[in-house]
């Protein structure tokens, strides 16, 4: 009985031995797959956009808000993407103005002040927030937040609130916001979507500050606020900045939520509650029915490249900032 058992053992050992190499390669491939994926995606969008690159009026593209990709018979198409760029940057800007203070505040609370069960619960709930699909966020923007924003930004013409809104460019007309789906609604939804990312990355950065820093601050008689502001923030500065930039990247690239929540109207907003239209939403809304290979199709891919360049820029910038941490530590 003993002999066959040991033979089986040896055979199985040989089996593992023979598959070791392929498995090693498989794991190596997994490691490289993200780089391969990025290269393939970039090659694809570049290939689809390439024939249009020399033919596109680039100055018009970046300076005109006239986006008429499907002109009437006999008219020339106009690919002016200025309003789309402005739409993307304004919604992202509003998202950051809201998400950065809230996200950093939440991270400080979770990392420095919350204890035990509260801390664990908060962390789990914030991760749950990150798991909500973007289309659900868009739906909330359209059905819940939109009417709320419209309700707040509504006034009788001539009333004080109406004058305040017009003077401060909160609304472009004296009756207030024309529709619930607008720049502000889109920005708030994007903020809610980037907060979880900012919180968890910032919390990582704060936790990485050695406890000896906190102890030293305490020994010097600093109160908790002084510890956070004078010791933890400077020490974790680069990590926090990188967290915010990734939150910004999340906001720039978001598609479905902004398609539903911003009003999808091609214009340069004059007030906080004007509807806008982003580059991502334009690609999503128009790509489905373009003729494969025509100018409109290719210009949408050029919009994709512009987005790619923006997000890559953000990522490289945050990467450099993180490298700055390393240098700082060595010095």
């Amino acid at each position: 009985m003993a002999a066959p058992a040991s033979a089986r053992k040896r055979r199985s050992f040989n089996l593992f031995d023979s598959i070791e190499k392929p498995v090693e390669w498989l794991i190596r491939l997994c490691g490289w797959s993200s780089i391969l994926g990025i290269a393939a995606i970039f090659a694809f969008i570049l290939k689809e956009a390439a024939p249009m690159v020399p033919n596109l009026d680039w100055i018009h593209f970046f300076t005109s808000p006239r986006w008429i990709p499907n002109p009437a018979t006999g008219n020339e198409a106009s690919f002016g993407a200025l309003a789309l760029l402005v739409g993307t940057f304004t919604t992202t800007g509003i998202a950051l103005v809201i998400a950065v203070p809230v996200g950093l505040g939440a991270a400080v609370y979770i990392s420095e002040f919350a204890k035990g069960k509260v801390k664990e619960t908060l962390k789990i709930v914030i991760e749950l927030l990150a798991a909500i699909p973007s289309i659900v966020w868009g739906f909330i923007g359209l059905m819940v937040l939109g009417p709320l924003v419209k309700g707040v930004f509504t006034a009788e013409p001539g009333s004080l609130w109406s004058k305040v809104m017009v003077t401060l460019h909160l609304a472009s007309s004296d009756i207030g916001a024309s529709q619930g789906t607008n720049l502000l609604t889109g920005g708030i939804i994007l903020a809610l979507m980037s907060v979880p990312l900012i919180v968890s990355l910032s919390e990582d950065a704060l936790r990485a500050v050695p406890d000896s820093f906190r102890e030293a601050a305490l020994a010097l008689g600093a109160n908790p606020w002084e510890t956070v502001r004078r010791v933890l923030f400077p020490a974790a500065r680069n990590g926090l900045l990188a967290a915010c930039m990734l939150g910004m990247g999340r906001a720039v690239g978001e598609t479905m939520a902004v398609l539903l929540a911003t009003g999808h109207s091609n214009r340069i907003p004059a007030a906080l509650t004007d509807p806008v239209r982003t580059m991502t939403a334009t690609i999503a809304a128009e790509m489905g029915e373009t003729v494969h290979g025509d100018d409109h199709y290719r210009v949408l891919f050029i919009l994709g490249i512009v987005l790619f360049v923006i997000t890559c820029g953000i990522n490289v910038a945050s990467d450099l900032i993180v490298k700055g941490v390393k240098k700082g530590n060595k010095a």
């Binding site: 529709q179 999340r250 489905g288 990467d319």
Partner: protein, 311 residues
């Protein structure tokens, strides 16, 4: 160090997520279109399989596809291949014998009739199969109930002069909030052609700042939430939460209430006929298909798709 690594990981994950988001949604759209292009799969072996090729109007593609699908249940051996591309493309295909039926959202032009005659030797046959009527929707609280085509032009066309409701009626304040369809829809084309009109022999485009929405029902939904809103959409999408405006051809004329009878009679200015054209008398199986379209079953589908039926 842990911080740095986790941020690095975050950077990579973030980059991939951002990139795929936009492109994936674009890719899905393409697949949808491919699925819509040819409507039905080839028939199972139930006698000889007959293919009917239809090409033309993008406005009608949903309707034609719905007909094709329903007709499969009536005649399982007839395979209707429905394609869009535009009415002009459909007429070109009819000349080159690349299609059996041209779906047209306008009447055939004289030179197109002549070309078909020249290349195929046959006269075109025309079948009116439905009416398409667009209603101009407003909020129920809006006191302005009638409008003319000229006023609509100033509101919607590029370079138009109307920005505020009080230009129509001093008693109603606020800017026009415009809701339309996305720029590749047939409804967008039709409204642009009928409302924006021509300037120096060229079709005028829509102005900017119109919310371009991806569905007819979405236009109505948005208007119902916007007191100063105005939007165009198919007549079939009316709900109690919105009003539709009476439209007159010229300023000063009495507006015509949209409605099925007004659309059929041609009194309502934003309505048109939808046609099918064949080169010469259609072959028996094609004739049977067209007869079915003109019959009660085909016309029921017309109403279901948001158009106005013949009777």
């Amino acid at each position: 160090m842990i911080t740095n690594q986790s941020i690095h990981r975050g950077i990579q994950a973030g980059a991939v997520a951002i990139l795929t988001a936009g492109l994936l949604s674009a890719g899905c759209g393409k697949n949808d279109q491919a699925a819509g292009g040819s409507s039905t799969s080839p028939a199972p072996a139930a006698g000889k399989t007959i293919e009917i090729r239809m090409k033309g109007s993008d406005t009608m593609i949903q309707l034609v596809t719905a007909w094709a699908e329903a007709y499969r249940k009536v005649k399982p051996n007839v395979f209707v291949n429905a394609n869009g591309g535009g009415t002009g493309t459909g007429f070109a295909a009819l000349q080159n014998n690349n299609t059996d039926i041209c779906n047209a959202s306008r009447e055939i032009k004289k030179e197109e009739t002549e070309k078909v005659k020249a290349t195929t030797g046959k006269d075109v046959k025309e079948f009116v199969v439905a009416y398409d009527a667009l209603a101009v929707y407003t909020h129920p609280s809006n006191p302005i109930k009638a409008i003319s085509i000229e006023e609509l032009r100033e509101i919607w066309a590029e370079g138009g002069t109307m920005e505020n409701w009080d230009q129509l009626n001093p008693g109603f304040k606020g800017k026009f909030v415009l809701f339309g369809r996305q720029n590749n829809s047939g409804t967008y084309d039709y409204f642009r052609e009928h409302i924006c009109g021509k300037k120096d022999g060229k079709q005028r485009e829509f102005r900017g700042a119109i919310s371009e929405l991806n569905g007819s029902a979405e236009v109505v939904e948005n208007v119902s939430k916007t007191p100063t809103g105005i939007g165009y959409s198919g007549m079939g999408y009316k709900t109690p939460a919105v009003n539709w405006m009476q439209v007159s051809g010229k300023k000063g004329e009495a507006g015509v209430e949209p409605g099925i009878e007004a659309a059929r009679s041609g009194k309502y200015p934003i309505s048109r006929k939808l046609y099918l054209y064949t080169a010469g008398d259609p072959a028996p199986e094609i004739k049977a298909f067209i007869d079915w379209i003109l019959g009660p079953d085909g016309q029921k589908i017309v109403e279901k798709e948001g158009f106005v039926s013949l009777k």
